[in-house]
Structure formats: C-alpha cells, structure tokens
C-alpha cells in the first residue's frame, strides 16, 4: 500500500474551510488514545481537558487571558509566514517587549498618571519591534537565515530577563526573590469586568489587531504585496515590490505585536517582572497561526482553542494527575494534524494497492 498525492487543478475551497476542524477532530482522537495509554478513561479525561475548564464565567476570563497573547503574536506571525519570512523568535520579542515596557514602572515606580499605561504599551511594542529588527537586518543585509537567528535571540532574551530580575531590576524588598517591584496601579492594565473575572484589556487589543491585520492582508495593496512576495518572490519583484521592505515590515509588525503581548501580560496578568513570564506563548502562537490558516480572523478562534489546551493541561494535572506537559503534546499534535490536513487543500490523496506498479522498485 502506498499513499500518492494527485495535484488538484485549483485549491479546494471545501478543505480550506474544513482542514482546521479535521485537525482538531484528529487531535481529539489521538488525545483519547494518549489518555487511554496513560491508563485514564478517555472520555472523562477529554471532558476534564476540553470541557470542564470552560464551564464557568471566571474560567472564560482565564481563557481570554491565555488567548490574548497567543492571538496577538499569531496575527503578527501570520503576516510573516504569508510573506514567507520565518520568524520563529516571537518568544524573544515577547520578552523584550515586556522588558522595554517595564522600564517605566520598574525604574520610575513613583510615576503615576493616565499616560503611564499608554507609554508602557508603546514602549513594549517598540521594544519587540526593535528586537525583531535584528534578524530582519541580518537577513536583508547579509542574507542570514532568519529561522536560526530569530530562534537564537530567544535564548538571549530569556537570559537577559533572567539577569535583570536577579540583578539590576531586583526588588530589594523581595527577600532575594528574583522579581521586580510590583507595578503601581496606574501601570496595571485594567480588567474588563472585575466583577466576573480577571480578563484584561489585552484581549481587546488582540481582537483589534486581528481585525486591522485582516483588513490589511485581504483588502489593501500592502497585503497584496506581502502575499505575492510570499507565494512567488520572482513575480513579486516583477510587480516592483521589494523583498527587503517586506522582510522588515513583517518582522517589525510581528515584533511589535509580540512586544505588545509581552507588556500586556506583565502589566495585566502578572503585575511585575519574573524570570519566566511566558509558558511558551511565542512558540504556541506558531501553532495558532497555522491552525487559523494564517488568516487573522481564523487566528482569533485558533487562539481560543490553544488557550484551552493550556487550561486543560493545568486541569489534567490537578484532576487526573498527568504531567502538565500533556498540553505541549496536544499542541504539537494539533500542528501536525493541521499541516497534514492542509495537504488536502492542494492534493487529492490516492491509496495505491500493493499490486499496482511500484515505480520506485529497482
């Protein structure tokens, strides 16, 4: 038996729409098998993982808190990946955005005023963008592979944050705990509906970013430029578009959004800087981007799904006693299945029997 791909004359609209759902269904099935292998009742486990964490209003707030950074980052990554620019260092841009945005509340903790928060958010976005401009510069100037440089810069950013909260920015009153001072109230991102839960404005930023980027990608010349250069670079040059401009544009947008996500997380959900401020949002957002089919509106839905895998992981750890790493496994599987389902958009799959010709024998 052999699997063969037969190219479709046009991409399939049906499977374009269906592929995320197929991927999710396959993930659920694989998840059931995984739980069964761990000796858990698959149905109970899946309920605990995917349903139980979102049965109450405050839990929906938690979902929004986890989804906000994922959506913000993934929307930026969608721009990159559409442009065929492989920024996989969003985690580092997230951290550097958080650091840049925290300059005000950490170094000038006495500063208060309505302008503090907007200034922090701007500085956060600027910090993320500046950090993302490094791989962009190296790629456009020296032709250096952006996958490796952006990834290496993640480790550098994490070590830099680690040094800050253990050294220069350590809160002297924190009994040697590695953390910065608590942000003062005017540096804290307000909650949306404090009566029902903790969700903050970060989620609103994410929705706004998704809509704006969607408009740009699908309705504007800039989006056309990005899509052409990403899908056929030579045709893009023929159109008079410049590769290097788009590389910078994509890195700056995604860096800014990752940075905004970083400062929103620190100022909203955490309230101070710590050695670790992200459970891998920058990497999980890659999955979100693909599950959303690189469409910002799809990414909003995909962000909620991936946020659920985090909550489910925590729930599974407490209720079922399995490692919280199960969340990472679910996320990895989801990306695998998304990519596999995407094959159906461009190809028909034919299963050739054993008796048929095997052209690769001999």
């Amino acid at each position: 038996m052999r699997i063969e791909l037969v190219k479709r004359p046009e991409r399939s609209k049906l499977f374009s729409a269906l592929s995320p759902f197929i991927a999710f269904a396959l993930t659920i099935i694989a998840g059931a098998i995984l739980f069964a292998a761990l000796g858990k009742n698959p149905l109970t486990a899946l309920y605990t993982y995917f349903i139980d964490p979102i049965t109450q209003v405050w839990q929906l707030h938690e979902l929004a808190i986890k989804a906000a950074p994922l959506i913000l980052i993934a929307v930026g990554l969608a721009v990159c990946y559409r442009a065929n620019v492989w920024n996989i260092g969003a985690e580092g841009q997230f951290v550097m955005g958080a650091v840049a945005g925290s300059v005000l509340p950490v170094m000038f903790p006495e500063t208060v005023g309505w302008w503090v928060l907007p200034a922090m958010l701007l500085m956060g976005a600027a910090g993320g963008a500046a950090y993302a401009s490094i791989p962009a510069f190296l790629k456009t100037r020296f032709n250096t592979n952006e996958i490796l440089t952006s990834l290496m810069l993640v480790y550098v950013a994490q070590l830099f944050l680690d040094w800050l909260v253990r050294g220069w920015w350590k809160d002297p009153a924190a009994y040697n705990f590695p953390q910065s001072v608590q942000f003062n109230p005017s540096a804290v991102l307000p909650e949306l509906a404090p009566m029902s839960g903790r969700a903050n404005w970060g989620f609103i930023f994410a929705i706004i970013a998704a809509v704006l980027v969607w408009l740009m990608l699908s309705k504007m010349l800039k989006g056309f430029e990005i899509r052409v250069l990403g899908s056929s670079p030579r045709a893009g040059r023929f159109a008079g578009f410049q590769q290097s401009h788009v590389v910078f544009f994509a890195f700056l947008i995604s860096g800014a959004l990752a940075g905004l996500a970083g400062i929103s997380e620190v100022s909203g959900a955490i309230g101070q800087l710590q050695p670790s401020i992200s459970p891998g949002y920058g990497f999980t957002a890659i999955i979100v981007a693909f599950l959303g089919r690189l469409n910002p509106l799809g990414i909003v839905a995909a962000g909620l799904v991936l946020a659920l895998t985090y909550l489910g992981g925590e729930a599974a750890q407490t209720a079922l006693g399995v490692s919280d790493k199960v969340a990472r496994v679910f996320q990895g599987m989801l990306l695998f299945f998304v990519l596999a389902s995407d094959t159906l958009i461009h190809y028909r799959i034919r299963i050739a029997g054993l008796g048929a010709k095997s052209s690769e024998a001999a």
């Binding site: 492989w86 990306l335 990519l339 094959t343 190809y347």
Partner: protein, 306 residues
C-alpha cells in the same frame, strides 16, 4: 598541564553531541530536505536513552534506545514532509514542539534520578601515555563514533555511487526522478539517518555529558547543530571543525563562570547563541559561496507526476 588536558577533554565532550547531530542533519539536507526538528529528535533521544539505561542498568541499551527513538521520531517528519508534502519548515518546528512535550511527559518520573554513565574507553598502556593518552585513548565511546561518522559520511557522499545519487537528489529532485532515482525512498532513509544521529546526540547528553534527565536539557543544541551545517557549507569535515569551535565556546563560558570572571553569568551563558549568530552572518555574507553550496532543492516539497 593537567588543566589544559582537562579543558581539551571537556571541549571534546561538549562538541561531540553537536557534531553527531550536525553530521546527521548534513546528510538530510544534502538530500534536499530541511528538517528543523533536530532539537525535538535530540531531546527524545536524551529521554529515551536515559530511561532505557536507567531501567536496564545498561548504558549501551540506553545508546541503542536513543538511536531508535530519534529514528522513529524522524519517521513522523518523513511521513508528513515526504509522503504528504507538507511545508518542511513548519513540520520541523512541530516535531520540535512535540518532542519537547513528549520528552517532558515521558521523563516526569526520571527527574532527579541518578543516571548511568557510559564508561570511557580505557586501553591499558596507551591511555596512560602523558597528555595524548587521555585525549586520544581515554574518551567516551561516542567520541570515537562521532569522528568515525564524519569520515564515513564524507566517504559515502563523495566516493560512493549511492552518495552521488543522494547529492543529485538534493541538486534537482525532478531530474533525479526523471532518471529513475527513487527520490522519496532516498529521502526517507536520509531523514531517518538524521533522526538516528540526533537521537544519539541526545543520548550522549543524558548518558555521557551530564548522566541524568533534566527537562529541556538539549538547551538549543539542536538548533546550533542546524546552524553548524550552514556554517560548514554542507561539507562534513567543516562540520567537524565547526563543532569543536562551538564546543570550545560552550566550555569557555562555563570555565569563565567557574573562575568568577566579573561578568554576569547570564551574559556568558548567552555566548554560544550569540556566537551562532555571528558565525551565520560571517558565512552568509559570502553570497556566492552560499549559493554554490546550498543543495538547490533544499526545503522544497517533491510530488512526482504519476
């Protein structure tokens, strides 16, 4: 004198996993496939190697388990990228994400357990020679394996007919297909070889380098191995040189931390990553060299007409 020998020894130990992983990925990329999942395959090798060695008490079974784990895990990538023609960059990333998660799950109960170390080779007489004795005749077995791998791969690629076929596939998969070379089968084998190497490299970490299981213990080495392949412009002997340079950087910063050099340890820890970036920039500045050496069909999906 002893200090120098010890430093050289630790450099070799630090370079060996990079070298093994990179030489495997070199073969994969020579066949025209870009597998960014090295980090994931490596960590799977590390956890499986540790677990098998711990459970059986035999480090050699650990080595075998690491190799098999890496190869099997790479098969997942091969099925996706080769049979289903998925985007290789994204598929490699998902392999890394899945590997980091799975290894964490598998290794939950291994954390903090004492490991089993693969014993060093000891040849009476030769190993007792001053200086060279320890350097050449008293290392761990995987050190010798890594050196042998470099020369074996070099011989295979440039001196054998099958190696020529593999390179031809990397240069133009459609021409190779037209000539009747089984493109997909060669690529499957190349990817699995790369996976086995990455697994072995991970096994080196958990059986030799630091014989224990720590989550994310690969610490980006898989990515550095990928960078090494670019740095070496797809030449095996240059990978050898590159791996030892990086081993030296890695060990250098550790020693600098130990000697209490008045620079924050985090900055020293960042050195290997920064060095990777610098090296990549230096090598890619020479556009002509890169273009000449990069396998022309690298990273492109291949779907034959049938």
């Amino acid at each position: 004198m002893d200090i120098t020998v010890n430093i050289l020894l630790t450099i070799a130990t630090a370079a060996t996993p990079l070298l093994i992983a990179a030489i495997g990925e070199l073969v994969v990329e020579r066949s025209g496939v870009l597998n960014l999942g090295v980090e994931g395959m490596m960590i799977m090798g590390a956890v499986c190697g540790f677990g098998a060695a711990y459970l059986t008490g035999s480090p050699w079974i650990g080595v075998l388990a690491a190799i098999v784990a890496g190869a099997l895990f790479s098969l997942l990538f091969a099925f996706m990228a080769l049979t289903l023609a998925t985007n290789q960059v994204a598929t490699g990333l998902s392999l890394t994400i899945l590997g980091l998660g799975l290894s964490g799950m598998i290794g939950t109960n291994f954390v903090g357990l004492p490991g089993v170390r693969l014993p060093n080779l000891y040849i009476p007489g030769l190993s007792d020679l001053p200086i060279v004795g320890k350097l050449l005749f008293g290392q761990d077995p995987l050190f010798y394996a890594s050196i042998a791998l470099v020369f074996a791969v070099s011989w295979f690629l440039f001196r054998t007919r099958k190696g020529l076929m593999l390179r031809s596939i990397g240069d133009s998969h459609s021409s190779a297909h037209a000539l009747g070379i089984p493109v997909i089968r060669y690529r499957y084998l190349a990817v699995m070889f790369g996976g086995a190497c990455a697994g072995l490299a991970g096994g080196h970490l958990s059986l030799v380098y630091t014989p224990q299981w720590v989550e994310n213990m690969t610490a980006g080495r898989g990515w550095i191995a990928l960078a090494l392949v670019v740095f070496a412009s797809w030449r095996p002997l240059r990978v050898l040189a590159g791996a030892y340079i990086f081993g030296a950087v890695w060990i250098g910063q550790l020693h600098a931390q130990a000697f209490g050099i008045p620079v924050p340890s985090q900055f020293l820890s960042a050195l290997p990553y920064l060095a990777t970036i610098v090296v990549l920039v230096l090598i890619s500045r020479n556009k002509r060299l890169t273009m000449m050496n990069t396998p022309a069909s690298l990273g492109q999906a291949f779907v034959p007409d049938r």
